[in-house]
């Protein structure tokens, strides 16, 4: 088969950084985990929306709910970070802007995810009563 790489590209030895597959697979494994988790989350929201503060604290205090909630948040924020990263890489081509947005994306997801997980644990462990 004919190689489609340019002579310059071949000479420089540039090409795949050999770790793109890891990103691609982790995004998909996260997606598979999110199918049951988010569907459970929809029923959680329906329940929480119908109740008041006390009902929400009681619901989150259940170990199963607290655990699934933490997993839902962690995997969602991971998946979001991966997804928006690809969007930024596709559309923003100025290196400085791209880097700034990629870092912002990572920090927003990390911070929001950490805050959400800490808050769930605080409520579940009784700190909010």
């Amino acid at each position: 088969m004919v190689s489609y790489r340019t002579p310059l590209g071949r000479a420089r030895g540039l090409g795949s950084a050999k770790h793109g597959v890891g990103h691609w697979i982790s995004e998909r494994v996260g997606a598979v985990a999110l199918i049951p988790l988010t569907l459970w989350g929809v029923f959680g929201v329906l329940r929480l929306a119908a109740g008041d503060y006390g009902a929400a604290v009681a619901w989150v205090s259940d170990p199963l709910n607290a655990t699934l909630m933490v997993l839902l948040f962690v995997i969602s924020f991971w998946h979001m970070q991966s997804g928006l990263r690809v969007v930024i890489e596709d559309y923003i081509h100025v290196t400085l802007n791209k880097s700034a947005l990629l870092i912002l994306n990572l920090f927003v997801c990390g911070l929001a995810g950490a805050l959400a997980v800490f808050s769930i644990l605080k409520v579940a462990l009784g700190g909010a009563v």
Partner: protein, 135 residues
């Protein structure tokens, strides 16, 4: 053979949105990204919910009041649609990833299934919400 003096023609760039006739598969692809970005905002609202709960009854009541307002409900309905769309199309992508469903006829048919599912599931969830007093 003698045009070495000519300025090189502008090379063609990869075709973008403006030159394609709209296909339903193209719409599903673009909407997958758009709903993904919408759900990004939705997850931040989810994190805000968790924080408000941890902060106590007053903050939680304010948060619920905000989401229960007309604007809050519009946002939540949009997120419901985005969620079911992204879920269904995400499953379609996973099926494509294992190499199935790629032919044009199947891809067009599953596009319609995705739209129908998103609409039906959103309607069902909001009907349940109305019946259980969640609105």
């Amino acid at each position: 053979m003698s045009d070495t003096t000519k300025v090189p023609r502008e090379r063609p760039l990869s075709p973008h949105l403006s030159i394609w006739r709209w296909h339903i598969t193209m719409a599903t692809s673009i909407l997958h990204r758009a709903t993904g970005v919408a759900l990004y905002v939705g997850a931040l609202i989810g994190a805000a919910w968790a924080i408000s709960l941890a902060r106590g009854p007053e903050t939680y009541a304010n948060f619920k009041h905000l989401l229960g307002s007309p604007l809050g409900k519009v946002v939540m309905f949009g997120l419901t649609l985005s969620f079911f769309y992204h879920l269904a199309n995400g499953v379609r992508h996973l099926v494509w990833d294992i190499g199935k469903g790629f032919d044009l006829k199947t891809a067009n048919a599953t596009s319609i299934v995705i739209f129908a599912f998103a609409a039906a599931a959103s309607a069902a969830v909001w009907a349940i919400a109305a019946m259980t007093g969640a609105l």
